[in-house]
């Protein structure tokens, strides 16, 4: 075994942190994957009820939210290009837009859930037990759990974006070192991908 001298300094390896992020994304995919399995099993067992319940969701809000997430996904992707071109100002703007869009998404979600709650549709509600079939209760149970979990991910993603913006501001993220920005982007795209599946499953297929 030969030996060579190498400097002792902390080794900076952006690819390592990128793989780390990807691996984390894989676990997230499987987390939602399990939910999708549950969803498809119950859809298969209760086709009519899922059909009926799906019609009660507002496709328009769903579609608006889809557009919002897609646009925000683009802006954050662009911010990576911007930082690599050295354009700090544009990076910050793009990140800010992403953050605002995320907020708008949540506000929409809030009103959507709120209107359901006011109609007595929420997990464990007596109203549902009395007026809905078992399949419909399942549909809404899954709807709340899955979109709720997705909303939690939006919140985490927003936290990451804020952190990134702070680091950009402190010049810890710059043209040569931008792995945190890249990773926040990856995470945000994951949130987008999950929504890409949630949207048709809950709002479109009747």
């Amino acid at each position: 075994m030969e030996k060579t001298h190498q400097a002792h300094h902390e080794h900076y390896d952006p690819e390592a942190s990128k793989i780390g992020m990807w691996l984390f994304i894989f676990t997230e995919l499987l987390l939602f994957g399990a939910m999708f399995i549950i969803y498809s099993v119950y859809r298969y067992l209760n086709p009519e009820a899922f059909h009926l319940a799906g019609e009660e969701l507002n496709t328009l809000i769903g579609a608006i939210n889809t557009v919002i997430l897609l646009v925000s996904s683009m802006t954050i992707a662009m911010s990576t290009s911007a930082i690599r071109k050295g354009n700090i100002w544009l990076t910050q703007q793009l990140l800010a837009i992403t953050l605002v869009l995320a907020l708008v998404f949540l506000v929409n979600k809030y009103f959507e859930w709120g209107s359901k709650f006011s109609h007595g549709i929420f997990p464990g509600s007596e109203y549902m037990l009395a007026n809905y079939s078992q399949g419909e209760i399942l549909f809404f149970g899954l709807y709340f759990v899955m979109t709720g979990l997705h909303a939690v991910h939006i919140l985490v993603g927003m936290g990451l974006i804020i952190w990134t913006m702070i680091e950009v501001r402190q010049k810890k993220i710059h043209q040569e070192k931008y792995d945190l920005l890249e990773n926040s982007g990856l995470y945000w795209h994951l949130v987008d991908i999950i929504w890409i599946f949630l949207f048709p499953l809950f709002y479109l297929i009747h």
């Binding site: 075994m1 030969e2 676990t27 078992q134 399942l138 149970g141 709340f144």
Partner: protein
Amino acid sequence: MQESQSAIQASYLRTPGRFKGFLGWVTSTDHKRIGLLYLYSIATMFFVGMLLGLAMKLELVAPGKTLMEARDYNATFTVHGVIMIFMVVIPGLPAVFGNFLLPLMIGARDVAFPRINLLSWYFYVAGVVLILIALLFGPGTPDTGWTFYAPYSFKTGTNMLPAIFGAFILGFSSILTGLNFIVTIHRMRAPGMGWMKLPMFAWTLYGTAWIQLLATPVVGITLVLVALERLFGIGVFDPALGGDPILYQHLFWIYSHPAVYIMILPAMGAVSEIIPTFAQKQLFGYKALILSTMAIAFVGYLVWGHHMFTAGMSGTAQYAFSLLTFLVAIPSAIKVFNWISTMYKGSINMQTPFYWAASFIFVFMIGGFSGLVLGSLATNIHVHDTGFVVAHFHYIVFGGVGYSFMAAIHYWFPKIYGRMYDSHWANIGWILFFVGFVSLYTPMFWLGMKGMPRRYYDYLPEFHGANILSTFGSWILAMGFIVIVFNLIRAARSGPPVGPNPWNGKTMEWMVPSPPPVENFEEIPVVGENDGPYNYE
């Protein structure tokens, strides 16, 4: 001698970081210290779990009540199972030996994300604490069995929420460890160390890490759903609301079957390191062993349904799961054959770690063969949920992972502490342990075939004889265990110092001083063309 004493002084054991003493340990991001933190915390939990096992055996020594009420018995096997599975054998080898050895084996200074590594230990502790809270406070110790089957798990009046949440956090810890290892293996190998030069133990850690990453989230979300079911009644697994309890079982086993391979793969890896060293030979069929590791990891993901043959699945699914189960036995068979072939024409040095490794092969075979009985449809129907299953998994989990853990601790002990234990006492401990083990679990096979169900607090008089034998075995086992533990503790404090390589090992970790310095390698080694995984000098 003088030299080894100073190695101990200069090692990670003594060099403090920012803090001294206890604080220096719990804030250290050094992979070796984290490995030892895991060792001590896992050993503690192991000890608690074993005491509970002992208590169960004492209860079962005679029909009727001997020691505790049915309620306590149910809580005992639940806690025993949860501790052993989630806190001992799943983190077990990867967290202790993986952390300690992986960077040493691949020529790195640390894992890829040292701080995340420490964080995952904190998650482990937090999970343990939460589960202990569930045990000691609130409306009663959880009594669902470690499988948390719905709908019982959200009907029981006991303290399920903290237990579920604790298991969830333990899962997080496991995911972070896996993530760390994969990145470490991808990015931190010393220059020149190609994939085909990784030691087997590193390969098995890699396979295990992938399963940890891809299976754990499934049980995570499932447990969350059970918690939500208890809190809000969302109906996902509640038959009264249209849910399907069998779906819960699918999701649970989608994780928990791969989890058994999370446990066994690193155990196999450790044995694959020990046998070459004591036979003074390179590993026979290195490539076949790598392939079989990956095959177990992959196929192991698809056989979960063999735990559900009587649950009410469709016949087609039963057929498919049985077939796949038999396929997953093949890579294990390949491993056994290669280990034994490694001994062929070797120069075998009979030392304590080798005793453990050889007895590992023996008990692993018994556990594996009983797994085949369980994997076959007709026979599973008869022995499912009986003592036979209990015997199977103790043979293969305790026999497999436990023996491998013992082998590993005796093998790497000089590397970890720079000191040697008394091998005379170590061997006495081994023989007691082995005899106790066999007489503890073998009667359970018989009991299962005669039809004694598992999780039974009480039994009919016809099962009495075998239960006495089994209880008796647990005492011998306990004696062996005490001998082993005292021997090791004494050695860690005051055993004679040894040089860097007492066993004449040929893998990279033996090339550094024992115990290793904080930095591991003064210079990052460069692996040459002709250096293989098993021929560093």
